[in-house]
């Protein structure tokens, strides 16, 4: 039968009450029993069916739009005689910019926090602190979006964005009117949401650096900071890279909060202060009103593109994480 986790152990001989009972018990004592096997296989089959169904159904619905535009769907979306309805390229740019802002903001803060928790904090402090930071991940994205829209956006419009405009070097990034909803606001909201991921994974990477490596540096005359810089961080590098990539994946998948703060503008953003659109926000804002047929198929096409990018990034991060575990075990 199927290979199982443990070796088969034949049951001990029972006192013969009836040959049939014995025989049955011997039969069912092997890998499970039929009912159990059916249970397991149905669970697996249903799950597999759902995953396949998801992919097939989305591709099927989007096929009309793909067929209509071909590869050019990826940048110009579906072209309608009167206007570009769904300029995929602009949505992709928006997605990339907001994700980039999120990473730039969240990674230094997240890795610094992880370093604090791993190297500086006394034990009684690091556990409760990391629980608190994980709690941010528990907050529903709609609540974060609401807060971003009603609290953060005015603050950005009146204080943060003008501040960035005033900084001489950043002019190229920050120009134009500061209304609030913008790329930079969306990026910041995303940063808040991916921070726990970065902190948790980076912290795990830092603490898993062997004590022996730290001791070696210390015994050579390194200060505590030097120990972290020369022994800990290089050892944790792969883990931190994986953390960043997985956080990117998380940012890509986050649609509702971004939709609330990005301003829904379909022209190419010329500054971080401009409102824009991402794949996620475009999907949310258009699916409801899309007419069945090419219209709706185009929106689902956007879903397929978003799914593709997200899965690629997530898989990349997972593979990196697994390769790090492998090299750790291989080191003597």
């Amino acid at each position: 039968m199927s290979p199982t986790l443990l070796e088969e152990i034949p049951p001990p001989r029972l006192t013969p009450i009836g040959g049939v009972r014995e025989a049955l018990q011997r039969r069912w004592a092997r890998p499970g029993g039929r009912a159990y096997a059916v249970l397991r296989w149905s669970g697996a089959t249903i799950f597999a069916a759902i995953v396949l169904g998801l992919v097939v159904s989305l591709l099927a619905t989007a096929s009309q739009a793909f067929g209509h535009s071909g590869v050019s769907f990826l940048w110009s979306g579906t072209y309608n005689a009167t206007k570009d309805i769904y300029p995929t390229g602009i949505f992709i740019v928006g997605t990339l910019i907001t994700t980039a802002v999120a990473i730039i903001v969240a990674v230094p803060i997240g890795v610094g926090t992880a370093a604090f928790l791993s190297e500086l904090a006394p034990k009684w402090l690091s556990s409760p602190l990391s629980v608190l930071i994980d709690l941010i991940a528990a907050v529903p994205s709609i609540v974060v979006g609401l807060w971003g829209l009603l609290v953060l956006s005015p603050v950005f419009a009146h204080h943060v964005e003008p501040f960035f405009k005033a900084v001489p070097l950043l002019e190229w990034f920050f120009h134009g009117p500061a209304y609030g909803p913008s790329m930079v606001l969306a990026g910041t909201v995303l940063a808040v949401m991916i921070l726990p991921t970065i902190v948790a994974l980076s912290r795990s990477a830092l603490t898993s650096v062997a004590r022996e490596d730290r001791e070696a540096a210390r015994a050579l005359g390194a200060t505590r900071w030097q120990v972290v810089r020369t022994a800990v961080v290089p050892g944790a590098r792969t883990g931190i890279e994986a953390a960043v990539i997985l956080a990117m994946g998380r940012a890509l998948g986050e649609t509702i909060a971004v939709a609330m703060v990005i301003g829904n503008n379909y022209s190419l953003p010329h500054s971080l202060l401009s409102p824009g659109a991402t794949l996620g926000s475009a999907i949310i804002n258009n699916f409801g009103e899309a007419n069945p047929g090419l219209d709706r198929s185009s929106v689902v096409g956007l879903v397929v593109v978003l799914l593709g990018i997200t899965v690629l990034v997530n898989v990349g991060g997972q593979l990196l994480l697994r390769s790090r575990l492998r090299t750790q075990r291989a080191a003597p």
Binding site: E212, D213, E215, A219, Q226, T230, G235
Partner: protein, 277 residues
């Protein structure tokens, strides 16, 4: 029980000669505790210049603890050290002594080889120099070559200095760690059971190394292998758990020959004849 070392075979510690040569390490009434638990009590012994001193005894008697007290590694683990530790004329635990500076004068090799896994062989060897602010490429190269020669590793790695250190075998990695410790030209080299995770051939190579290294550094060697002590050391300090079965103490200290052939303390005699431990 404190041992007055002037009573053992009439040898007294020589004061460290001036710059360019090794210094003695002097421990006087050193106690190490973790919280309320005293791990080792009242240790008075010397690591004589250019000599190999072995610290032997069964596991858990405080030999490693005492070794780590010399380069202040207990600062990081929360151990409390009382008594006096002198490296040459430097009072290791004086209030104005910087631990990092002590550690650049007292090197350490650990039980399991621990080269920095992300660095090449060369970067590993010069790591200590870089950490202490030495930048000059010429100095680094010179020091690396000298250190690798001393560790009997130069011929093996001279053509692949920039390959990853983890590709070396266990014994080679340990010699790399020795080279790394030597590159900063310490006056004292502390070795904590350096061969315990190695095979007999690698062990023999390192034992051979130890006897040669003593020309340039003072060596303190912790080992649970009596025979290794007899093979490589000049002086031996024998540790045992005290009567309370909780705190280690120094039982006897003297020239290796005497400790193993004509020990003064009955406990020492019992241990070296194989009756216990």
């Amino acid at each position: 029980m404190t041992i007055d070392i002037t009573t053992t075979a009439g040898i007294s510690p020589e004061p460290g000669p001036s710059s360019g040569s090794t210094a003695a390490v002097a421990l006087r009434d050193v106690n190490v505790s973790f919280g309320k638990h005293r791990v080792v009590r009242d240790v008075t012994l010397d690591l004589l210049p250019n000599r190999v001193t072995a610290l032997v005894g069964p596991s858990g008697c405080g030999k490693t603890t005492i070794l780590r007290a010399i380069n202040r590694l207990h600062d990081d683990t929360g151990g409390t050290v009382t008594g006096q530790v002198l490296v040459g004329d430097l009072d290791v635990y004086a209030r104005d002594t910087q631990a990092e500076l002590v550690r650049s004068r007292v090197g350490m090799v650990f039980q399991r080889p621990n080269p920095f896994p992300t660095m090449s062989i060369f970067d590993n060897v010069v790591a200590g120099l870089r950490l202490n602010g030495v930048r000059s490429k010429a100095v680094l190269r010179e020091a690396a070559e000298a250190a690798l020669h001393h560790a009997a590793l130069w011929d093996l790695v001279k053509d692949r200095l920039h390959s990853p250190a983890v590709r070396l075998s266990g014994g080679q990695q340990q010699r790399l760690c020795i080279a790394r410790a030597l590159a900063v030209e310490p006056e004292v080299l502390l070795m904590d059971e350096p061969c315990s995770s190695l095979d007999p051939i690698a062990t023999a190579k390192i034992e051979e190394l130890i006897t040669h290294l003593a020309t340039d550094v003072t060596i303190g060697l912790v080992t649970h292998n009596m025979f290794q002590a007899t093979r490589v050391s000049d002086y031996t300090a024998f540790f045992l758990l005290g009567e309370d079965r909780a705190t280690g103490e120094l039982v006897e200290y003297g020239p290796t020959e005497k400790i193993f052939n004509s020990p003064s303390d009955p406990r020492t005699r019992a241990y070296v004849s194989g009756e216990v431990g």
